[in-house]
Symmetry: C2
Subunit: 359 residues, 2 copies
C-alpha cells in the first residue's frame, strides 16, 4: 500500500500507460470502473511537446487536465528523447533533442525534467537518467551510469528545493541503471539506495535482453534496494514477466503491451494468448473471455471482435484495450491475494504456464 495525495495504491500494481494524457482507446471512467486501474502513467516527453507545459500549468496539472482523480506517475522524458527523437546529443549538462512531431529544438536537463514534472503534477516523479540500449558496451554503460548518478544529485537538489505547485506533495524516484553488467548494477543499486528516497526504480531493462537476464538483474537489484520502499520496474512487461518479477520483489509495473497489442488483435487471458485476427475465431460466437472480470469481455463475442479488428473499426481497439488492461489489473490483484494467502509461488508457477499458451 502506497499513499498519495490522490489516494492509496495497493501493490503489486500495474499502471496503464497514458502517454499523451490518455490511455489509448479507453475512457477515464472505464479505467476506474472496468479496468480497476489505481494509478496511470504519463510520458513527460509527449506531454511537454503536446499540449505543452503552459497549458498543463493553466489547467492546474495533468489530473485536472484529463479529469483523472487517482494517482499518476510520470517518467522523466529521458527514455522517449532517446527512442523517439530523430536527433539528440547528450552532454554533462543535459540532452539537446529535436521534436519527433515538428522538428523543433529542445534541451532537457535534470533540473528541467523535475520542473516539468512539478508542473505536470504527477504523484510520482522520475529522476532524469540515460537509458542505455541493448546490447551496450561495458565502457559506455559504466560512464552512462555515472552520468545518471551525477544527474540524480542535481534532480534531488532541484526537487528538494522546490514544492508541489498544485497544492499537494509529490515523490521522486531515482533509477538504477548499469545495463546487463552485474558489477555496474550492484554499484548503481547501492548508490541509488544511498539516496534514501521514498521509492526506487529499475531502468534499462525490457529493452531487448533475454527474459532470463532481466530476471537475474531484477533479483540482484531487488536484493540491494530497500524492501520497505516501493520498487518500480520500468516498462515491464508481459504477464509472465510481471508475475516473475513480483516474485523477485517488484511493486510497480508499466507497459504499453496491453494496449498496443490490443490494437493489433493480441489478447491476454487467464487461459492463454489469442490472436483475434486468426480465422479460427470467425464463427466463434462465445464471449471474448467469459471468465473475465470485465463486462465488455463477457458481452461481445470473439467473432464480433475479429470482425471489428479486420474492418479496422475503432470499437475493435476499444474492446481489446479494455480487455487486456482488465486482465493485467486482474492478474496483479490475484497476485496480491495469493501473497496475502501465502501461496503466491505455487499459484504463480501454475498460472505462468497457462497464460503463455497460444489459444
Amino acid at each position: 500500500m502506497i499513499k498519495t495525495a490522490h489516494g492509496a495504491i495497493e501493490t503489486p500494481i500495474f499502471m496503464p500507460v497514458g502517454t499523451a494524457g490518455t490511455v489509448k482507446g479507453v475512457h477515464q471512467r472505464e479505467l476506474v470502473h472496468d479496468v480497476k486501474a489505481q494509478i496511470i502513467l504519463g510520458n513527460t516527453y509527449h506531454l511537454y511537446l503536446r499540449p505543452g507545459i503552459e497549458i498543463l500549468h493553466e489547467a492546474g496539472g495533468l489530473h485536472h487536465f484529463i479529469s483523472w482523480e487517482k494517482p499518476i506517475l510520470t517518467d522523466s522524458g529521458g527514455y522517449q528523447v532517446y527512442s523517439l527523437s530523430a536527433r539528440r546529443k547528450i552532454t554533462e549538462e543535459g540532452v539537446a533533442f529535436v521534436s519527433h512531431i515538428d522538428g523543433s529544438k529542445h534541451f532537457f536537463t535534470p533540473e528541467k525534467a523535475i520542473e516539468i514534472q512539478r508542473e505536470i503534477g504527477a504523484d510520482f516523479l522520475m529522476a532524469f537518467d540515460e537509458c542505455t540500449p541493448f546490447p551496450c558496451e561495458y565502457d559506455y554503460a559504466k560512464s552512462s551510469m555515472q552520468l545518471t548518478h551525477r544527474w540524480l544529485k542535481r534532480c534531488c537538489t532541484e526537487f528538494d528545493s522546490s514544492d508541489g505547485i498544485h497544492g499537494y506533495g509529490q515523490t521522486l524516484f531515482p533509477i538504477v541503471q548499469g545495463s546487463t553488467f552485474k558489477d555496474l548494477r550492484k554499484e548503481s543499486a547501492e548508490v541509488i539506495a544511498s539516496f534514501g528516497r521514498e521509492g526506487n526504480a529499475i531502468g534499462g531493462l525490457s529493452v531487448g535482453e533475454p527474459a532470463g537476464q532481466m530476471y537475474e538483474i531484477t533479483e540482484q537489484v531487488c536484493s540491494i534496494l530497500p524492501k520497505d520502499k516501493p520498487r518500480y520496474l520500468m516498462g515491464v512487461g508481459t504477464p509472465a514477466n510481471i508475475l516473475e518479477c513480483i516474485g523477485l520483489g517488484i511493486d510497480l509495473f508499466d507497459c504499453v503491451l496491453p494496449t498496443r497489442n490490443a490494437r493489433h488483435g493480441l489478447l491476454y487471458t487467464a487461459k492463454g494468448i489469442m490472436n483475434m485476427k486468426n480465422a479460427r475465431w470467425k464463427d466463434d460466437f462465445s464471449p471474448i473471455d467469459e471468465s473475465s472480470p470485465c463486462e465488455t469481455s463477457r458481452t461481445y463475442s470473439k467473432a464480433y471482435l475479429r470482425h471489428l479488428l479486420h474492418s479496422k473499426e475503432l470499437l475493435g481497439s476499444q474492446i481489446a484495450s479494455l480487455h487486456n488492461l482488465s486482465f493485467f489489473l486482474w492478474l496483479v490483484q490475484e497476485a496480491r491475494r495469493h501473497i496475502r494467502a501465502g501461496d503466491f509461488l505455487s499459484w504463480k508457477n501454475k498460472i505462468v504456464v497457462e497464460i503463455q499458451q497460444r489459444l
Copy 2:
C-alpha cells in the same frame, strides 16, 4: 411510437449509423446509457461484404452478432453500391458490382437484397432502389424511378413470400425517388403509397441539392405519403435539416454527420457549432458542453478534447462521437416534447438559429 420485436421507438427519432455493425468509436452500452439511442442503422452493403451473410446467419442475426437488443434498420445496400463500388452496372435484373474492399465481383437483385436483410434480421428492411445523383437529367431520373418501382414489386413479392428467419417479424419500407423533379416525386410518392406498406421512406435527397430544394420535396412527398405510418428521410442530415423536416412530417432520420464530423473535431451543441481544433479552445478548461445530457461532455474540458484531436488520439474521436450523438438524440427528444406541448414551431424557429451559430 413504432413497435418492433425489439421494443418500441418514440418518433421523431434519429438513428445513429452503425455501418459495419458498429457505430464508430462508441460502445453499445454507451449508445444505450449515454446517447439514449432507441434504434441504430446497419449498412447491408458493408455487412454483406464483411463479416458476410454466412457469419451473420450463424450468429443468429445482427442483433446477436453485435450484442444490441434494441431495434435495427438496414438499408438495401443499393446506395453504397452506387457510391462506394469502383465499378457497377445496372440492368433490369439488378446491379453487378465490384467490392471496394477486395475487388471481388457480386450481383444484387431486389430479391437478393431482401434475402440478405432477412438474414441480417433488421426490424426494418428497405426496398432495393436506385438512388440518383445530384444533379440528374430528367430522362434518367424518370426511367430510374420507374426501375425503382418495378424493383419494389419484386421486393414485396420476395418479402411477402418469406418469413423472418430469426423468430421475429420484420417490416419492409419502400422508397420514394424522382430526383428534384416535382412531377416525378408526385408520381413516385403516389406509387409508393399505393403499396400500403407499414412505413415509407424518401430517398435521393441530401445528395448535394440545396437545402431549400430538399425541404420543398420533403414537404410535397409528405403531403402524399400516409400520415399514420412512419416516414423516413434517408441520410438526413444536419441538426437544422432534421428540425425543419420534423416540421414537415418526417419521423425517422439517419446520418453519418454526428460521428464523421466528430472525428474531424466538429461539435454540435444547443448554442452552436464548435470546431474543436481551433486555437481558441486550447486553454479553455470549461466543460465541452456543460448543458449536455451526456456525462462525458460535462466531464472533459474543451482544451483536453482539442489536445486529443490534435494528437490524433482515439479518445478524441470517442468523446466527440459520444457528444454529437447525444446532442442529436437530445434534439429529437426535445422536438417530441414540444410537439406534445403544442409549441413545436415556435421552439423550432428559435433553436434552429441558435444551433447553426459558429462558436
